[in-house]
Structures are given as C-alpha cells and as structure tokens.
Amino acid sequence: MAIKQRKLELGVLVASLALVTSCKREDRPFQTSAPSAEAIQFTRMTDFRAGGPSISGNQPSPAMSADETPEEKEFEENAYMVGEGKRLFSAFNCVGCHAHGGGGMGPALIDDQWIYGHEPAQIFCTIIEGRPNGMPSFGGKIPSFQVWQLASYVRSLGGLVPGDAAPGRDDDMHGGPPENSAPNQKPNDSSLPKSAEMPK
C-alpha cells in the first residue's frame, strides 16, 4: 500500500518533469548573454529626443534588422517582462504625458484606439522612432530589450495581454483598476488624433 503510494507519486513527478519547459509566463529572462554591439538602424520620426541628440545619428533604413525582433509572444506572455515594463513606464517618465494610461498631453493608452498600431513591433517603433505631435524618440537612449518590455506593458494597458501575465496593483495610491483587472479589448487601429483633424 505504501509502495503503491510511492510509485504513484513518482509517476506524477516524472510526468511533470516532462513539462519543465512549458511555463513561459514565469521565466525570468535576465539578459545574461551580451546583446550585439551594433546599434539598431531606424528612422527618427521627430526631432523630440529624450536627453538630447543621440550618438548613432540618423541612419535612414527601411526596416529593423531581423535579430532585433524577438518572439513577441515570449515577452507578452512573460509576467516578469510586463512587470519590468511597468516599472520603466514610471521610471522613464512616460507617465508625464500618458499618466498611468489615462492620457493627458499624450493620448490615452487604456482605450482601444491605437493611432500608430497595436502590434508589439509597431509600439516598439513608436517608442524608438518617436511620433509627430510630441512623442519623443527614445532610440539610442533606451536599450531595445527594455523597449520591448515597455511595449508589452503598453499592450497590457490596452487590455491586449493575457490576464495572468499582466501586472497587479501598485504599492501606491489607488488610481484605477490595475492592468490585470482591465477588460480585454479589441484594438481599433484607425483613429486619427484630434490634433490631426482639419479645423472646422
């Protein structure tokens, strides 16, 4: 009886060992292998730049190099990366224009309106390149790894990240429902910002 017990439990353990790689949400991908030393090529879309002109300068290029587009799913379904994005969102003062998603000087990020696209690569480009009407270009200032973290977090603000990976409430004053309690939304890519509308 006791031996049967033990066999049953060993069996369960072995089966679960087989699933070792299956939980991507909980990985902690510290970037322990050095990233490539080449700066990524991008086209800057605005003269606003965080912290002054970048060293890499303006190199016109149509697309990003292939190895700079990691598996977006890995980031998005990875709770640690989204959590880091949340930390960086405050640290790099995105909240200065976007508040905690509600918007202010910048557009709201918690709604379903995505002016420049809701895909992770599109948000990545928005952050790196900057956008007209005030979005600074962070290329050369925030390493790509962190920009991917920010992009996943921005998606979580818009309700596009699975609930169990999205971050919970801050240890701060209560502002509104945290990202894991926000409703999942269907993104709408086609709206024009108010400032771009023709005056009546």
């Binding site: 033990r6 709770a79 609930g163 169990d164 209560h174 945290p178 309690s181």
Partner: protein
C-alpha cells in the same frame, strides 16, 4: 503487581486465538477492514492506513526538500559559484522551507499521532474517519501543487515567510506567490482536520478508566499540539489569503499597501503569530516521543508526569506570546520588543522542566541502550545547543546583530533537526515493529545514527560562526574575500554525509520490511496500550477494547483487568466515554467509507488551484462544495444513534490483553 513482559521475539506475528475469540475476530475483521479493490484504497478511513500514508508522503517530501537543500549547499560550497543563478536559488530555498515546514514537519507529526493515538487510548478509530480520508487528499494536493509548480518554474521564490512588499503584486510578477498562498491554504485545511480528529478522539474515545491523569504523555503531546494547530493556523490562512486578494485581478485589496492605509508589518505580525507556534507544533510531538522512549528504556514511569504535562501546556501557551522575536530588527517600539524578550526567555523554563524530568527519569531507572534510546540521547546533545542559541536570539540586543544571518539558520536547524527529526527517527525505530511486525536492522541503524549525527553537526555547527562573521541568509553566493569559504565548504561536505545517512535509513526500511527480525506484539517491553495488540494491529485494533487502571497499563494493570465486550460486531461501533474520568457513556456508530470524501477533496483541490489563476473559482467552487457536502451529510437510516444500555457491559477478561507467546 507488574507481570513479566520481556517476551522473546515471536516466531510468527499472528496472534493465537481461542475459538470464541476467533469468531469475533472474523466478524470484526469483516466489519472494520477496508473495502476491497481500488474503491477501498481510495476511500480508506482506517486511521492506521491514513496515518501511514501521511508519514510516507511526508517522508517523500522530506527527501525532495532535502535534495533541494543539497543543491543549495552545492551552490554555496565555493564563493562566486555559478551552479545556480539567483532566480533558481530563490525558488530552491523557498520551496525547501515551505515543504519542510508546511508539508513535512507538521504532517509527519500528525501522521504519527493519527496512527498511534487511537491505539494508545484504546479505541478502534479516530472520531471522524471520513474527514480523515478527505484531509489526506487535501494534503496530497498541496504537495503536488508545490512540487509540480516548482518543476513548471512557477514555484514560489520569495522565501517560505513571503514578506510583503516583495511578495506583493508590484514586486513579484506572475503566479508564483499566488501558488504558494494556495499551497499554504491546502496544507492548513489538512492540518486543521487532523487536529480536530486528535482532540475529539482523545477527549471522547478513551478506554474506560483512562482518566485525564492516566493519559500517556505521547497522547498529551498530540493533544496540546492539536490545540496549537487550531489556534495558530487560521492566522497564516488569513494573511496568505489577504496576500492573494491583494494580488488577484478584480479584487485588488490594499492590505499590505502603505500608500492606501495597509502595512507591510501586518503581514509579519500575522505570519509570525502562526509561525512561532508552528515550530512548537513541530517540537511538542517530539517531546512526546522522547517521554515515551525514555520511559520505556529507563524501565520506569516518567518522573514528574504532572510537571511534564503542564510544561507542554505552558510551552504552548507562552509560544503564542513570543512571535515578535522574529521582528526584533523592525522599527517596532522598544518597550514592546523588550516584553517579547522577556516572554521568549520565559519559555525556556517549561522546556527546562521537561529536560530535568527526563534526566531524573533516566537517573531513577535502569537504562537499556537500544537504538531508539540512542536517537533520544542525540536529541539531548543537539537540541540543547539549539535551545541555548535560542536563548541568545531571545535577547533583543544580540538578535539585532545575528538576525537574518546564518547564526539563525544554525539555530533553527539545531532545534528542528535535533529537537524534532532525531526524536522522529528514534520514533521510527521504536514503532516500526508495531507498524510492520518487523524490527528495523540494528547494525544499519547504528550506522544511520552515527552518520546523521556527524553529518548534521558538520553541516550546521560552522554556520554559527558564519553568522557571526556577517554572512546573511538567503544569499545565492558570496565573495571570495569574505572569509566564509572554508566553513561553507565544510557545511556542504556535512550535507552530503547527512544525505547519505537518510539514504541509509531508507535502505534499512526497505530491507527490514522483507527480512527484519519478527517483532511480536511488544518487543520493547513498553507500557502503553498500542503494544497490547498484534504487530501490525488488526483493522479493529483491539479484540476487546481494554479498560485501564493506571497510566502504564501493560506494566501496572493486573492481568485480570476487565475488558469491554458487547460492542457490535456487524457494524462499526466504538465506545464513547466521558471527558474527565473516561466513564463509559454511550456507543457510537462510526461511519464507514464513502465516495463523497474523495469527491469533496477533488472539488476542493480544483477550486483552490484555480484560485491561483482566477478569483471566479471561489463563487463557482463553493456551491459545488456545498453540493457535495449536502450529499455527504444527507441523513440516512444508518446514521441514527443506537442507545441500548443493556447490551453494554464490562466482563472479566477471558483472555489476557496480549496473546500468549506461542
């Protein structure tokens, strides 16, 4: 007038029956045995079955958590080692601590109690057999949840104590902490159920004549522990569930958020209010083992029975009043902390009284140096060191230097391993014959003890110095010039020896189960009632439940002490006695196996595991639980109580309480 008990080892374990008794035996066996097949195995309610399941499962947890600790020691053997990174290391020490404290130490003590207490008090089963079955599956669920989670990389990584805000929603991403919280919930449900069993069985089902002052010391220790469990465990269930609600989507409470009126210190208070009694929950059953083993091998009743009982009770009471000594480094008011220094020092007194009584027993008896007794002697050598470093830690001023260093790691292992595990192994060697009918091998046993003693001290003694040299806890590596390398290396070597000793024990168990010396019913010449039946006991424990006239029935009760006859043979019936003097009160029809217990366990586990991921699990799961509970407790004809005072009587024994040797 004591009668001779040093019976030579029996040639067979089977008792000898007279014809009348044989008929009773067959009927009782049919009534009380487990239903055949997989159904019976799943729904087992016999306290011996479930008790052994708790013990075996807990031992497997012990092995797995020990392997995790060994990996930690490998990482710390040399400075700046790269075997294990910080993330995995955090998971290792968290799962090691959680498994050892919640899933090994308490369940193994409860398992010992569940097996031995009904036998020692002279009844046939625990009070709530189906609850027992349910509690085992809940425990199994928590073990699987923790370890499967660990292998899936969702094992907790914030320490077994999970301080907020590190374990809160902002600083711990993902589901790791939520999983930990539900492991704790499941483990506590199981422990609470076991505690309730013990309390009710001890208070209401004792053999006639076993008044409170005749209860064996082991049973007292289990009773005191059960009460501690009942009062302490709700605190940790509460704080871990509060942490869950802080973290879960759509609930988002603010219990530990200082910006919204919460407090990280609240977690510490609630957690340590549970966790300090927890260590006494682990230690007091071990004092029960020691009292029993010292009595048996000193050949005399323990000195100071009343003192020993009151010491256990006092320890348990004071144990609820010392928790702040885990928080001496926090900015709590100094006067309050000073009071806790006083209470933490005070708890040494009942502990000391127990020591003095045991030593007096040894000096007043004739000692037989058997293996179980040798394990108890190791306890004296090791636990005393742990207790004395505990006195140092009780001092608020000293603690401010050594808190959260390896000095505390050394202390806690000296008291937990020295104070609980060495007696536990002694108890294994002592009661293995009763469980299996065979003795554990003596030669292997002595090697086991020697290796464990050496390995343990080599591992943990250097840690005292490491703590004093400034090595903090919970670090995945340390720097070369810190001066900590040699002692860490020694500790790793010791850990290897310790692991080897545990393996030796396993080998001993596996060999002895097949080819150990046959034990007979009372190989040690002990005095308590479990030795009055065969080894292993039949499913119904005693052919005729005994009556007792002293606290050491097998030593001091005359051979013609009456036994209880007249309990029903065709259905499960036990005798319920009064709480104080154990006078027979009524016969109680005990429930038999039911599929509802397994179903309820499955529903509970599924609900609790789902809570990790979504809070909807509660409103969906609770009605299901209520449904299964309703089905379980739906009144049937069978459960109406029978009260027929004429059938119940006690008669002079027609057989001695133990069968004659062949």
């Amino acid at each position: 007038m004591p009668y001779p008990l040093d019976v030579p080892a029996a040639e067979s374990s089977d008792p000898v029956w007279s014809e009348a008794n044989l008929r009773e035996h067959i009927l009782l066996e049919q009534t009380w045995r487990r239903p055949p097949g997989i159904y019976g195995w799943l729904t087992a309610t016999n306290h011996k079955d479930i008790g052994l399941r708790f013990i075996v499962t807990a031992f497997i947890v012990f092995l797995m958590a020990g392997v995790l600790a060994f990996i930690m020691r490998l990482q710390l053997a040399v400075p700046e080692n790269t075997l294990v990174g910080p993330d995995l290391y955090n998971e290792l020490f968290t799962v090691h601590g959680t498994a050892m404290m919640f899933l090994f130490a308490v369940p193994v003590m409860e398992g010992m109690g569940l097996y031995l207490v009904p036998l020692m008090v002279g009844t046939r089963n625990v009070s709530f057999p189906r609850l027992l079955n349910y509690s085992y599956y809940i425990y199994l669920g928590s073990v699987l949840l923790l370890f499967v989670g660990f292998f899936l990389n969702v094992g907790p990584d914030v320490g077994w104590f999970a301080y907020t805000p590190l374990s809160g929603p902002e600083y711990s991403s993902g589901k790791r902490v939520d999983l930990w919280s539900q492991v704790v919930t499941l483990a506590e449900i199981s422990s609470l159920a076991g505690a309730v069993e013990i309390v009710t069985t001890v208070f209401k089902q004792r053999a006639p004549g076993m008044s409170l002052n005749r209860i064996p010391l082991f049973v007292w220790s289990q009773l005191v522990t059960a009460f501690m469990i009942i009062f302490a465990m709700p605190a940790v269930m509460l704080c871990s569930n509060m942490l869950s609600t802080d973290r879960l989507a759509h609930i988002n409470t603010q219990f530990y958020n200082p910006a919204e009126g919460g407090d990280p210190l609240l977690w510490q208070h609630l957690f340590w209010f549970f966790a300090h009694p927890e260590v006494y929950i682990i230690f007091i059953p071990a004092t029960g083992f020691i009292s029993t083993i010292v009595e048996t091998f000193a050949g005399r009743r323990a000195f100071g029975y009343t003192l020993l009982v009151l010491s256990m009770v006092a320890t348990s009471f004071i144990g609820f009043g010392v928790w702040v000594h885990h928080m001496f480094a926090t900015p709590l008011p100094q006067l309050g902390q000073g009071l806790f220094t006083a209470s933490s020092l005070m708890i040494t007194i009942p502990n000391g009284i127990q020591f003095f009584c045991w030593i007096a027993t040894m000096w007043g008896g004739r000692l037989k140096l058997t293996l179980p007794f040798a394990w108890v002697l190791s306890f004296f050598l090791i636990f005393t060191i742990g207790g004395l470093t505990g006195v140092m830690l009780a001092s608020m001023s000293i603690d401010q230097q050594v808190h959260d260093t390896y000095f505390v790691v050394a202390h806690l292992h000296y008291v937990l391993i020295g104070g609980a595990i060495f007696p536990l192994f002694g108890a294994f060697y002592y009661w293995f014959p009763k469980w299996t009918g065979r003795m554990l091998g003596a030669k292997l046993g002595w090697v086991n003890l020697a290796l464990m003693f050496i390995g343990f001290n080599l591992t943990f003694f250097p840690m005292h110095t490491l703590g004093l040299l400034g090595m903090p806890r919970r670090i995945y590596t340390y720097f070369r010039e810190s001066g900590w390398a040699e002692r860490n290396f020694a500790a790793t070597v010791g850990a290897g020896v310790l692991g080897l000793s545990v393996l030796m024990f396993l080998v001993n168990v596996l060999i002895s189960r097949r080819s150990g010396l046959l034990a007979g019913s009372n190989p040690w010449g002990a005095s308590t009632l479990e030795w009055a039946t065969s080894s292993p006991p039949p499913s119904y424990n005693f052919l005729h439940p005994p009556m007792v006239r002293s606290g050491h029935p097998l030593w001091f009760d005359p051979p013609d002490t009456p036994v209880v006859t007249g309990l029903a043979l065709e259905h499960r019936e036990v005798l319920v006695t009064t709480t104080h003097d154990a006078k027979p009160h009524h016969r109680y029809h005990m429930a038999s196996e039911a599929w509802e217990t397994v179903a309820l366990a499955v529903v509970t586990i599924v609900m609790i595991v789902s809570v990790v991921f979504h809070s909807l699990a509660i409103p969906v799961g609770l009605p299901l639980i209520l449904l299964v509970l309703a089905i379980w407790f739906w009144p049937t004809k069978e459960t109406k109580p029978l009260k027929d005072p004429n059938r119940l009587r006690t008669v002079p024994a027609t057989v001695p309480m133990i069968p004659d040797p062949a």
